[in-house]
């Protein structure tokens, strides 16, 4: 197994764990944490391909990760603000109990 | 003559190389790192113990009392002006019973002091203590310093939450709110230096200040933006290290001791150590960024070894910390937040603009006029905005009949 494959496997595992958490846990904040883990798995892929790819001097991988980190920060801020707002209205942050729009 | 001073200046570096040469070749980096780590682990805790005595004596003097002046060498009459006090203090702290609340989250309660101390010690890895005396010279050293500082907030939260005590939690929440608010002016004031020097490497930042004009050093603090930046950095570092007037997280008259209410014995000692080492590290960073690091202020004193300059500056800054602690009362929470967001943050943003103007104007007296005017003008306007609506005058005291 080459180092690139090892990094990709770690990233695949992180993605799967994040996905499992996002779809199986009830709490809204844990769903957000799962999404952050999935984003990080993608970032790890970018860095691994940048490091072992043919053109590291182009810095595309690094740039992608930096921008994705900024967006992850924005996403976390808005997501947690939503969780707090929902908690204020419904006094719960369990996703199973927040289903007013369910048909 | 000159050779002797150079040798004295590089004595620690040479001793390190000499010691490392005893181990076989492939182990050189490992041995060198181990020696550097043990150097930091010996020097800074020792410095901490001396500074605690300085602080107690200094505050005592300012408050018109003596402070510790008894403990010297045991079984003799030598008292050392009380400078032996740290030994019984430390022994008392280490032999106390370690109490963990029954409701506490045991693991997190145990880990919090450790998580507090590790990032603080890691921060010393990038600080230059003297000429060629930097452990790891990262290309992004400044970023490393600030990134590592973020973990301290997590440790504070762990301590406050795991104690299951309302005062602990209140203290931790106050501490985190304060640290996050003041981290922004702290980083923004450091950004000006990065802009003008053009590097995040701390060694390069010092090299850029190591010039002399008319015999006086060209430190960043001797420019309009540098002075403002240093002031902002200093105030923000007071807040980051939870010192008076920003010691709300451990305001003993309101919330007992804040997030370390439920800590005793060795764990409390670790928190205490972590707090002081954090203070030294951030002062050291301020020295590096604005006060020229290990360089001498005047050109005819450059023969004094570089590490002596660094520690002299460090002691001076710590003395100002102690002086402020003995002089100013504690702020209120709303004053603290208003000051950070309505005064320091806009001023730090304007300072970035001023640093840009300074960088691109011709090296001439005109840029001094323009930049000084901008700094003073924005300071006055923002200060007036902050004080608006507050009546400052003689206070009316009401006494019980």
């Amino acid at each position: 197994m080459t180092p690139l494959q090892a990094c990709l496997l770690v990233s695949a595992f992180l993605f799967a764990i994040g996905f499992a958490g996002a779809v199986t846990r009830r709490h809204a904040i844990l769903v957000l944490i799962g999404i952050e883990l999935m984003l990080n798995a993608a970032n790890l892929n970018f860095i691994a391909f940048w490091r072992f790819g043919p053109h590291p001097e182009a810095l595309a991988g690094i740039m992608f990760v930096l921008f994705s980190m900024a967006l992850a920060g924005a996403e976390a801020a808005v997501g947690l603000a939503l969780v707090i707002a929902i908690y204020r209205h419904k006094k719960t942050s369990n996703l199973d109990e927040v289903k007013d729009l369910k048909g | 003559m000159g050779n002797m001073f150079t040798a004295l200046d590089q004595i620690f570096v040479n001793v390190l190389h000499w010691l490392v040469s005893f181990v076989p070749e492939p182990w050189h980096p490992f041995a060198s790192a181990l020696l550097c780590i043990s150097f930091i682990l010996m020097v800074f805790p020792a410095f901490f113990s001396i500074i605690t005595i300085f602080e107690r004596k200094g505050i005592g003097r300012i408050q018109n009392r003596y402070g510790p002046n008894r403990v010297g060498i045991p079984f003799t009459k030598i008292r050392l002006c009380g400078f032996g006090q740290f030994v019984p203090d430390g022994l008392k702290m280490l032999t106390k019973e370690d109490i963990v609340p029954r409701a506490a989250d045991k693991l997190v309660h145990f880990l919090a002091p450790v998580v507090m101390l590790i990032p603080v010690l890691l921060a010393y890895a990038v600080l230059p203590f003297g000429r060629k005396m930097t452990m790891t010279d990262y290309d992004a050293g400044l970023l490393f310093f600030f990134a590592i500082g973020g973990a301290v907030e997590l440790a504070v939260f762990m301590a406050g939450w795991s104690s299951r005590n309302k005062y602990s939690l209140l203290g931790a929440m106050r501490a985190i709110a304060q640290m996050i608010s003041y981290e922004i002016p702290l980083i923004l004031s450091a950004v000006t230096v990065v802009m003008v020097v053009g590097s995040l490497k701390l060694v390069d930042i010092i090299a850029a200040q190591n010039h002399y004009a008319y015999g006086i050093a060209q430190w960043n603090v001797f420019t309009p933006w540098g002075l403002l930046g240093f002031m902002l950095f200093f105030i923000a570092s007071l807040a980051e290290s939870n010192r008076t007037p920003f010691d709300l997280p451990e305001a003993e008259s309101e919330i007992i001791a804040g997030y370390f209410t439920e800590y005793s014995g060795f764990k409390f000692a670790l928190f205490f150590l972590g707090e002081y080492l954090g203070m030294f590290a951030i002062s050291g960073l301020g020295i590096t960024l604005f006060l020229g690091g290990w360089t001498s202020p005047v050109s005819f004193l450059t023969w004094i070894p570089s590490y002596i300059w660094f520690f002299t500056k460090l002691i001076t800054i710590i003395f100002v910390f102690i002086w402020i602690r003995a002089t100013l009362p504690r702020m209120r929470m709303d004053q603290l937040m208003n000051f950070a967001w309505k005064f320091m943050l806009p001023l730090a943003l304007i300072n970035i603009l001023v640093a840009g103007i300074w960088h691109f104007m011709a090296v001439d007296w005109q840029r001094w006029i323009v930049c000084s005017f901008l700094v003073v003008f924005s300071y006055v306007i923002l200060g007036r905005g902050l004080m608006r609506g507050q009546k400052l005058g003689k206070r009316n005291y009401r006494y019980a009949e």
Partner: protein, 172 residues
């Protein structure tokens, strides 16, 4: 493959698994901080220093604290008595195992991956800064705009409502 990389990878994976299996949310958030530190350590070993430090600054220093604040503000610091899993958790586990199997199979059997280990690329902070200010200036500006919008939006969403208006926004 260096032993350091293996150790950090194992720590990261274990911490990530812990995040999703603990019941207490604060413990989850702390384990998440460990995961992010592990990922930052992997970045450092892939000679991406700047990104590694930025990862610690953004994720451990900011997002973990934000999440911890949200946990305390929604009073979910205690372990819940009821189940922490959603009603359809079995299907979720199956799908994620399938995802991991598919990705792992693709990684291990792909012929297009570069095989030979290359020398570590020389990137300095200066290069990154110049690229950000030159080739990638437009994305940088857009990210700035997005961050401003997100900040304003988060503040407005989390703002305490006027107690005189009820949930539907009418004045009562």
């Amino acid at each position: 493959m260096s032993p350091a990389l293996i150790i950090t990878a194992i720590v990261t994976i274990l911490a990530a698994a812990t995040v999703m299996s603990l019941r207490n949310l604060v413990h989850c958030a702390l384990a998440m901080a460990i995961t992010f530190s592990g990922i930052a350590a992997i970045y450092l070993q892939l000679s991406a220093e700047f990104v590694g430090f930025a990862e610690i600054l953004v994720y451990v220093g900011a997002i973990a604290i934000l999440i911890v604040f949200a946990i305390l503000l929604t009073r979910s610091g205690e372990s819940p008595e009821k189940s922490v899993l959603t009603s359809g958790w079995g299907a979720g586990i199956v799908v994620s195992v399938l995802v991991f199997t598919a990705l792992g199979w693709a990684v291990l059997n792909s012929a297009g991956l570069p095989k030979a280990a290359t020398a570590a690329p020389e990137t300095t902070v200066k290069n990154i800064g110049e690229a950000l200010m030159g080739k990638f200036i437009l994305p940088l500006e857009i990210v700035g705009l997005v961050l401003t919008a997100a900040m304003i939006g988060a503040v407005i969403i989390a703002l305490k409502e006027d107690p005189k208006t009820d949930n539907s926004g009418r004045k009562s």
